[in-house]
Subunit: 192 residues, 2 copies
């Protein structure tokens, strides 16, 4: 007797729709009316599921933020610098590929900042944490900072790039890891 799931419930469809519209028009460029129209319901129905627009934004961002938080914590546990970077690149690319547009949104949309502020690290804190790990500490080496920013924002944006939407997950993962490792000075992996 399997208790049948109540089909893709409205809340889930709502979040998926909101994410798509956010990625197309930006958070500020997406109105509740647009979300409602896309779902085929009225604004009031949307307000039944979320009290405010900000709540929708936060709910959309939440899974990515949680995973990103966890990734930074796990990566920092490795005693050796090389292992920390390896963990970070693999984990970050995995996250980007599984969420595609969401992580790109983190890197590019000012309207998502309020949601990111709820994270352990805060909006700019994430970049700081990532940079800190690859730079081997919070020092001021410009070269390391520039490299880290180009690598992580570049990878994040590539995940949301329409030009790469049709590339399958496995291929995109491989290519992004390769690019990330090359930039961050990690040796090429042998092809299995």
């Amino acid at each position: 007797m399997t208790t049948v799931e109540p089909v893709a419930d409205t809340r889930t469809r709502l979040l998926a729709t909101a994410l798509r519209l956010f990625s197309e028009h930006g958070v500020e460029g997406t109105s509740l009316q647009m979300i409602a129209d896309e779902l085929g319901v009225t604004k009031a129905a949307v307000y039944y599921h979320f009290k405010t627009k900000s709540e929708i934004t936060e709910a959309v961002a939440e899974p990515g933020i949680r995973e990103l938080d966890q990734l930074v914590v796990e990566a920092a546990k490795h005693p050796r610098h090389g292992a920390r970077v390896d963990h970070l690149v693999d984990g970050f690319v995995d996250l980007v590929v599984r969420h595609r547009v969401l992580v790109a949104l983190f890197s590019s949309d000012p309207g998502i900042d309020a949601a990111l502020a709820k994270s352990v690290h805060g909006v700019e804190g994430f970049k700081q944490a990532l940079i800190s790990i690859v730079a081997g500490g919070p020092e001021l080496d410009v070269t390391a900072r520039v490299t880290a920013i180009v690598a992580f924002t570049g990878i994040a944006m590539a995940g949301g790039a329409p030009d790469l939407a049709e590339v399958d997950d496995e291929t995109l993962r491989r290519e992004l890891v390769r690019v990330g490792r090359r930039l961050l000075g990690r040796p090429r992996r042998r092809v299995c």
Copy 2:
């Protein structure tokens, strides 16, 4: 008898203010009221200079678009592939450093698309043109496409990154060129 410039005229200040607000809140997240308040005038004064918000957006984007258009045309003239990529990296980085937040806006803000559509290449056309040049043609090599997208969006976003705002132009230029060349497989230049 030097004809004195009419001090930094309102139109110029307006565009500078608009660009700053666009980069902080996104184009859609910036209202004419915000721009007017920042300038210390009323909305009506803003409407004296530009008929619509869209006109402001286009005027803000115009210098960057024009230079980017020109860069792509000039780079494509080189007969050898290596020279094309060299020209593109040097020129793109120079543009990013001189305009900082503007090129980042091109890469990240959906609200700027309307303005970019006025370009010779169109919004997605730019990326296509850049990719085409580094990939040596419009073929479908995934590796080259991923590399190009990560490199150019990464460099563009780095120019607008708050973390690098205090880095001086010369240093940022050097570091971004270094990263870009490394990613795109161009040999290291000897330090002069």
